[in-house]
């Protein structure tokens, strides 16, 4: 018997499973978006189209405050994490084997395996100690905690990119009189850009998203958008939250599309 090529579409129930999965993934989000335009305060009954919850969100200075904080924190933390992750990735792929290399690799990736709550509590205790010792209670702790949390996420795509890169390209550069610094600047770095962008995006999204880390590290008045929303939801659920969530959804779509365009152009 000539075996035909395996075709997943031919499996019984393929269509049903696909539709069910898509619905489970996107239906809640679609409902969230729809009700952000609801005239009434209900999350279940449609009361007509309105932008009033968006207006309310934009007039809510607290929302603006925490959003701005979330964004700059994510930018700064992801930025620093990306630089550190790039250096770590270069050290673990380009320096040749050194004692303790496997150990270092494990240490960099370990935070991905540790439950976030453990990291959160550890940070809580550590930061509380530092606050007492130094008397400083500013955003520095949040930046440091978010950066540390982002590093393994930024590290993964950068390392993957370095590992799949053809080493003879760097050799060719050296052969053509490039110093090690020039070879890095003109050959390695440009080819690494998609990995760096991906690492930054991942770090950015992770920082923007984390509730646990922020919750345990923040001082009074250092809420980010997720912790603020969580606090609000405990009291009352208004479509204003839907509106804010929808805006963030739009932002992340823009970021993802940009990333897609950048990496595709670099091909």
């Amino acid at each position: 018997m000539a075996s035909r090529e395996f075709n997943v579409r031919a499996l019984p129930g393929f269509g049903a499973v696909a539709i069910f999965t898509l619905v489970m993934l996107y239906l809640p989000i679609i409902i969230l978006v729809i009700f952000s335009f609801n005239e009434s305060q209900s999350q279940s009954a449609w009361g007509g189209f309105s932008l009033k919850w968006y207006v309310a969100a934009f007039n809510n200075s607290q929302v603006i405050d925490v959003s701005v904080r979330s964004l700059w924190l994510a930018l700064v933390a992801a930025g620093i994490a990306t630089v550190l992750a790039t250096l770590a990735a270069l050290a673990t792929t380009r320096v040749g084997r050194f004692p303790g290399q496997t150990m270092i690799y494990a240490l960099i990736n370990q935070p991905l395996m540790v439950p976030e709550i453990v990291t959160g509590i550890a940070l809580l205790i550590f930061v509380a100690f530092l606050k007492v010792q130094t008397g400083y209670a500013g955003m520095g702790y949040m930046v440091a905690a978010h950066t540390a949390f982002c590093i393994p996420f930024a590290y993964l795509p950068i390392r993957a990119r370095l590992e799949t890169m053809d080493l003879t390209l760097e050799r060719a550069a050296a052969d053509l009189y490039a110093t090690p610094v020039q070879a890095f600047t003109y050959v390695t770095l440009p080819l690494l850009v998609p990995g760096i962008v991906a690492g930054f995006m991942l770090g950015f999204v992770v920082s923007l998203d984390t509730v646990v880390i922020t919750e345990f590290v923040k001082s009074a008045g250092q809420d980010t958008l997720p912790t603020y929303m969580l606090g609000q939801l405990r009291r009352s659920v208004t479509p204003e939250m839907n509106a804010i969530a929808t805006l963030f959804l739009a932002l992340s779509l823009v970021v993802v599309s940009l990333f897609f365009l950048i990496t595709r152009k670099r091909g």
């Binding site: 053809d166 003879t168 060719a172 052969d175 053509l176 490039a178 110093t179 020039q182 440009p190």
Partner: protein
């Protein structure tokens, strides 16, 4: 940047170079006792089977590997310890290694840019190089938009642009189809003659090595077995491996009857005696058996009873320009004769007994 001191002298001197990978029980001798002098302006070829250390030797010359032992001089200057970017040697890599994010022109200009040459000079040389390899029309393309042969030409132009003293080429033609390969062989030879740059060319294709080189070295298992002109390597192989690796050969096991100077008299099956050349460094003893070689085109089929040998025809294979006739000598040793198909000769019939006439002085006694 050749300093214009003419076409004479030695470009690369390699003395007792060895390269060991790994240590202890897992140590692997990729190169052992390599002694080699490459002359300025010559087309030098390293020929050998896969894994014999050709790439390793090129990498030692380019500076990507440090020899475990021995000395290496380029134009009289000891370069062991010099980084690749400090050596006036450029490489055409086995997989081309073109920079994928740069255009053809940027690739070609890269070396000059790294040397800090003025923009105008880079542009002029890049144009000249693109003209040399006939790639002017594709200056703005990326390597991914080129065919294999075009990529190969860009790699060549990129390595030539800084005008290195020496160009190392690691099987640059192996990825090309036969027709393109022949074209590029001619092109490479032309470029070498035009630029006067010393070429060190690596291949495992014996025909390519014979047609292109001024001199070649045959390698096996990390050693150089024989070094010489294509003519010497083909007609006067010193070892069985060399004779076998280059072209087709008849090996004969024969008795030594007399030895005089650089020659020996050997007893042929059937009782006749023939004079043979002896490989350098070898003095066979009278009465011993030796291994001797003769190329299939150095024997002719003649009527039965004439010639030095008598043989039975076992079959004939048609190759277009020539026919290989497989025979068995009277003592059972196999023998092949290559006959040019320039006359409308009929193939001898299977089972027929014929005579064989050997070209005088063609038989060579091998080492080992």
């Amino acid at each position: 940047m050749p300093d214009g001191d003419g076409q004479s002298g030695n470009e690369i001197e390699i003395e007792a170079v060895g390269k060991v990978f790994g240590q202890g029980d897992t140590a692997f001798h990729a190169l052992s006792g390599i002694d080699l002098t490459i002359r300025t302006g010559e087309f030098f070829t390293l020929l050998g089977p896969s894994g014999c250390g050709k790439t390793t030797l090129l990498r030692v010359i380019a500076g990507f590997e440090h020899p475990t032992s021995g000395r290496l001089r380029i134009k009289g200057q000891d370069v062991v310890g010099q980084a690749p970017n400090q050596r006036l040697v450029n490489t055409v890599f086995q997989n081309y290694a073109l920079f994928p994010h740069m255009t053809v022109a940027q690739n070609i200009g890269f070396g000059l840019k790294m040397l800090g040459r003025p923009r105008a000079e880079i542009a002029a040389t890049t144009d000249e190089m693109m003209h040399l390899v006939k790639m002017e029309a594709m200056a703005a393309r990326k390597p991914s938009e080129l065919s294999g042969g075009q990529q190969q030409r860009v790699a060549l132009a990129r390595a030539l642009a800084p005008r290195p003293r020496v160009l190392l080429l690691d099987e640059p033609l192996s990825a090309l189809d036969l027709k393109l390969r022949k074209e590029m062989q001619t092109e490479l030879k032309r470029l070498q003659v035009e630029t006067g740059i010393t070429f060190v060319f690596v291949t495992h294709d014996q025909e390519e090595a014979l047609t292109m080189s001024d001199r070649l070295a045959v390698m096996n298992q990390g050693r150089i077995l024989q070094l010489g002109s294509p003519h010497e390597i083909y007609h006067a192989p010193t070892e069985r491996f060399v004779a076998d690796f280059i072209g087709e050969t008849n090996f004969l096991t024969l008795n030594v009857i007399a030895v005089q100077g650089r020659g020996a008299d050997l007893a042929l099956p059937g009782g006749r005696t023939i004079a043979a050349r002896v490989a350098e460094g070898l003095t066979p003893a009278v009465g011993t058996t030796v291994s001797a070689v003769i190329r299939p085109e150095q024997a002719r089929i003649v009527p039965q009873g004439t010639g030095e040998l008598s043989a039975t025809v076992e079959g004939a294979v048609f190759f277009g320009t020539d026919t290989h006739i497989h025979l068995r000598l009277s003592d059972g040793q196999p023998f092949t004769v290559r006959r040019q198909n320039n006359d409308d000769l009929a193939d001898p019939a299977k089972g027929e007994t014929v005579g064989l006439s050997l070209t005088p002085g063609a038989l060579q006694v091998l080492r080992g």
